[in-house]
């Protein structure tokens, strides 16, 4: 029965997400043509240069203004949604941010991409896939964690459709979103991914978004070069991500109205595009040029790398709706070209051509940004079906990840989540324990006392409830200390026998931190006070915390090892 439910969910979420992804791509391409963003549309008006120049500046600017206004007035979330929101929902089995925010975000993504903003399409696609999966949240079909699995299905199908890469789709859903490989999730996600592939390839016969034909690698030492390239792109990726994270808050300080921020970013894109049309939009043609030997001069490629990095950080930071993955592919491949030009053109090392370096750089950079090395390696394999190229890209990807993980974090998404207080840097377990607050485990019958209470009374009350310590409060309800009967002798008032509390938790203390601090603690309960004013909120027993820890651990193990 569960098998049927899971297969049904996988097929439904998979096909819906795949069709929606195709629709999004089509809509963006339609807008790109209509708004003179696509080179093929621009060139047809080549006889009217003023028209092309005007639209180049106006389209992204007005697009930005509309995107900003729509977010402000129509979206309850007031911002574009993306993979971090999906990861959060899936990991903590919460519903996604409201459907309306999601739809608005998808709409503004289509507009942002259509108007040529320097953002990517895969983030919105992943979110769109997740929306279809999240409808399962409302179903009661008796399968634990069904909603998370269904969202994984939608995400896998979207990626599989976008890249014509079903294996990469499966891996992406597990590596980035689900973060475990339980059969209960793996099986339906695979079914959904294949569904996406079938819809894109067999039914619609769509070409892959990026097709690469590569001759392979002729010199053994090129693997070493590619490893160095991996380190280079990692450094660039770290710079890019830091810039991206810094731009948002800085802009928010400078410009008060959010719609003006996006309009300003759009204007920057438009003005740059007057001289450098390659920065407009997803840059499919620029990505293609990167695989052609000598398509860019050295100076040109440096300018383009800088421009694309800054504009992408600016567009995403300012609030355009769109992802960082496609721009990462582009910037990474340009860095690959730059590296190849230096190695083969300037240093004169014989090589097997720009394409290998462009692909390795592309995937090294992108894997550092999305934190999905396996997915990136598989995307290359499925796009090129070339073993040599995949191995080269793999080398670049691991070296890039080594550095970026150490110096920045596992991915842009994880760092964004960490800033929201969800820290995956020590793994999934740690993040889950950190999501549980000790304040939710307060014991209602913990004994409190005032300083002037009679020691004997308090002692009797403690005995009656089976506790050994009472928490002494002053008249404001602030914790003063702990009273343990019989510890000091025979005081008559509690006040004269108050010892300091050996361990105090705050209302912000989470389970992971609490367990860490409980090491070496002897006693039956720990008082919890408000971080703000020190007011006593209650006490948690050590036994309750240990149970909570064990329960959550068991739940996670169950989820990660569920058969069906």
């Amino acid at each position: 029965m569960r098998m049927l439910v899971l297969t049904g969910i996988a097929l439904t979420a998979g096909s819906a997400a795949s069709l929606a992804a195709i629709a999004l791509v089509e809509l963006v391409s339609l807008l790109n043509t209509g708004l003179l963003v696509a080179p093929k549309a621009r060139v047809q008006w080549e006889s009217l240069p003023w028209l092309v120049a005007t639209t180049t500046v106006l389209v992204p600017t007005l697009g930005g203004l509309i995107v900003g206004l729509v977010h402000k007035h129509l979206s309850p979330a007031q911002r574009p949604l993306g993979p971090p929101d999906v990861i959060e929902a899936v990991q903590f089995h919460r519903p996604l941010p409201g459907l309306r925010s999601g739809l608005v975000s998808t709409g503004t993504a289509a507009l942002s991409l259509g108007a040529g903003a320097s953002v990517g399409q895969y983030g919105p696609m992943v979110y769109l896939g997740a929306i279809f999966g999240s409808f399962a949240h409302r179903l009661r079909l008796g399968v634990p964690n069904l909603a998370s699995i269904a969202i994984g299905c939608g995400v896998a199908a979207a990626i599989s459709t976008a890249f014509n890469a079903p294996i990469a789709g499966v891996l992406f859903a597990h590596e980035v979103v689900l973060r475990h490989y339980a059969t209960r999730a793996f099986a339906p996600v695979t079914v959904a991914s294949v569904t996406g592939y079938v819809i894109a390839n067999v039914i619609f016969e769509r070409p892959a978004l990026f097709r690469i034909e590569s001759p392979g690698i002729t010199h053994g030492y090129e693997f070493a070069l590619v490893a160095v390239l991996g380190l280079v792109v990692a450094m660039a990726a770290i710079l890019f991500m830091r810039l991206l994270l810094a731009v948002g808050p800085t802009l928010a300080r400078w410009i008060k109205w959010p719609e003006l921020r996006t309009a300003m970013a759009g204007l920057a894109v438009g003005l740059t595009a007057l001289a450098l049309p390659d920065v407009l939009g997803i840059g499919t043609s620029t990505l293609r040029f990167a695989t052609i030997d000598g398509a860019f001069g050295l100076g040109e490629v440096i300018v383009l790398i800088c421009a694309k990095t800054v504009l992408t950080a600016l567009c995403i930071g300012a609030g355009f709706s769109g992802g960082a993955f496609s721009p990462s592919l582009l910037i990474g491949s340009l860095i690959g070209v730059f590296f190849w030009t230096l190695a083969s053109g300037v240093a004169g090392v014989p090589s097997s051509g720009a394409a290998i370096y462009a692909i390795s750089g592309m995937m090294g950079f992108a894997s550092a940004v999305i934190g999905a090395p396996l997915t990136c390696i598989l995307i290359v394999f499925e796009l090129t079906r070339n073993y040599d190229v995949t191995i080269a890209a793999m080398v670049a990807v691991v070296f890039s990840n080594l550095l970026s993980h150490r110096a920045f974090g596992r991915s842009l998404f994880d760092v964004q989540l960490a800033r929201r207080g969800i820290d995956f840097s020590l793994g999934r377990d740690r993040a889950h324990f950190a999501a549980l607050k000790v304040v939710d485990y307060l014991q209602p019958d913990a004994v409190t006392a005032a300083a002037e209470d009679a020691a004997q009374d308090v002692s009797d009350r403690l005995q009656a409830r089976g506790w050994r310590e009472a928490f002494v409060l002053d008249t404001d309800g602030t914790l003063v200390g702990v009273f343990t009967p019989g510890a000091q002798g025979t005081a008559t008032r509690v006040g004269s026998d108050v010892g300091p509390a050996r361990l105090v938790f705050h209302d912000t203390t989470d389970l992971a931190e609490a367990m860490e601090r409980l090491r070496g603690f002897v006693g039956d309960a720990v008082p919890v006070v408000s971080q703000e004013n020190g007011t006593y909120l209650g006490a948690v027993s050590e036994a309750d915390l240990v149970s909570a820890w064990l329960d959550e651990g068991v739940r996670l193990r169950r989820e990660e090892n569920a058969a069906i």
Binding site: A38, P39, V43, S47, E213, F289
Partner: protein, 352 residues
């Protein structure tokens, strides 16, 4: 003939068109002779109409200048010329749905009729080589056209940017679906001309479409870019062992259109419906290697009556050819004419 087509044909023919006469305009030569034999004469016999055939140079300008005066009704055009003519109001608009059933509309390939034009046949710009020039390995890909080390010798190329720019990018490894997008950028044009520059010392230019086949035949060139029909003609008449490489073929579509000034719109429509029957297309394609634009016509193509050659293998859009194929983007061609000419002349100045 499908029943639905037959019904629509009958309806159109039975209308009060019986007495009307029709002027069909085409290109002359072997092409027109094949059209007469396969399409025009059977139509005249079936309807009893008198069909006059006029000749023109294929441009929309000629249609504008002579169409009304000479009483042109149905015109054979290149699809990009038809697109311009349509935009200029020189063509009579029609509703494809009223002429053809939905099954028929789906049968058209690579695209169906639009408001001004109905696809009638496909020709291709292909690469051909003189088999005598390469004793061992023969060229098989567009890349080989630009590889003068492995395949030395002069290349015959049209003195125009048409076709050769597409080939230059295909030879750089650009997939067909991205070729026109990339050629729309300054960088793409630069790369294409750079590729063309690598063979500039081996280029021999032609201007008349009949030349490339002759150049191969008399040894002035070892490879040539030209139209498949011309190469077929020379090869089949036994004048030279010319072989066609189908990889990188650029397929162009010929359409039927109706002059806006026509006095016999009903007869013109009836003629077009007749001319685009699978049987008519197949008859035409057995005469001359211009492929049908309907899928169902491919199964009917047989032996050329003059040479006895089975024709299916020589049609540019035959499904059995492997390799890369590009459908000429007529909208793009129509709008980038000046730009391409300008860049091409600039390149010529540099190259010569």
């Amino acid at each position: 003939m499908r029943r639905s087509d037959f019904v629509s044909l009958c309806l159109l023919v039975a209308a009060p068109v019986a007495a009307e006469d029709l002027t069909v305009v085409s290109w002359g030569g072997a092409y027109e002779a094949a059209q007469r034999h396969a399409i025009i004469d059977p139509y005249a016999r079936q309807t009893g109409q008198t069909v006059t055939v006029a000749e023109y140079d294929g441009s929309w300008a000629a249609l504008e200048a002579r169409g009304a005066e000479d009483g042109w009704d149905v015109i054979d055009m290149l699809s990009d010329q038809a697109r311009v003519a349509c935009a200029r109001g020189l063509l009579l608009e029609m509703t494809p749905r009223s002429l053809f059933s939905s099954e028929t509309l789906e049968d058209f390939t690579p695209f169906g009729p639009d408001r001004c034009a109905v696809p009638q046949n496909a020709y291709a710009r292909v690469m051909a080589f003189d088999d005598r020039a390469f004793a061992g390995v023969k060229p098989t890909r567009i890349e080989d056209f630009f590889d003068t080390d492995r395949f030395p010798g002069p290349r015959a190329i049209q003195r125009s940017p048409d076709g050769i720019l597409e080939w230059a990018l295909l030879a750089e490894g650009v997939p067909p679906e991205q070729v026109y997008g990339l050629l729309s950028t300054d960088r793409g044009l630069r790369l294409a001309f750079r590729k063309l520059g690598t063979i500039r010392d081996d280029i021999i230019w032609w201007e008349d479409p009949a030349e490339p086949a002759d150049m191969l035949a008399d040894g002035r060139a070892v490879m040539a870019a030209g139209f498949n029909g011309r190469f077929f003609d020379i090869a089949q008449r036994g004048r030279a062992p010319i072989d066609i490489v189908w990889d990188g073929r650029i397929i162009g579509i010929e359409v039927w259109a109706i002059a806006a000034s026509t006095k016999a719109p009903d007869a013109a429509r009836a003629f077009i419906v007749h001319a685009t029957q699978p049987a008519s297309m197949a008859r035409f394609a057995t005469q001359i290697p211009y492929g049908p634009t309907r899928v169902s016509a491919f199964n009917r193509i047989g032996i050329n009556p003059q040479t006895g050659v089975p024709m299916r293998a020589y049609l540019p859009n035959a499904p059995q050819h492997g390799g890369r194929a590009l459908v000429r983007d007529s909208g793009w061609y129509a709008n980038t004419d000046k730009l391409r000419q300008r860049r091409f002349s600039k390149w010529l100045d540099w190259a010569e």
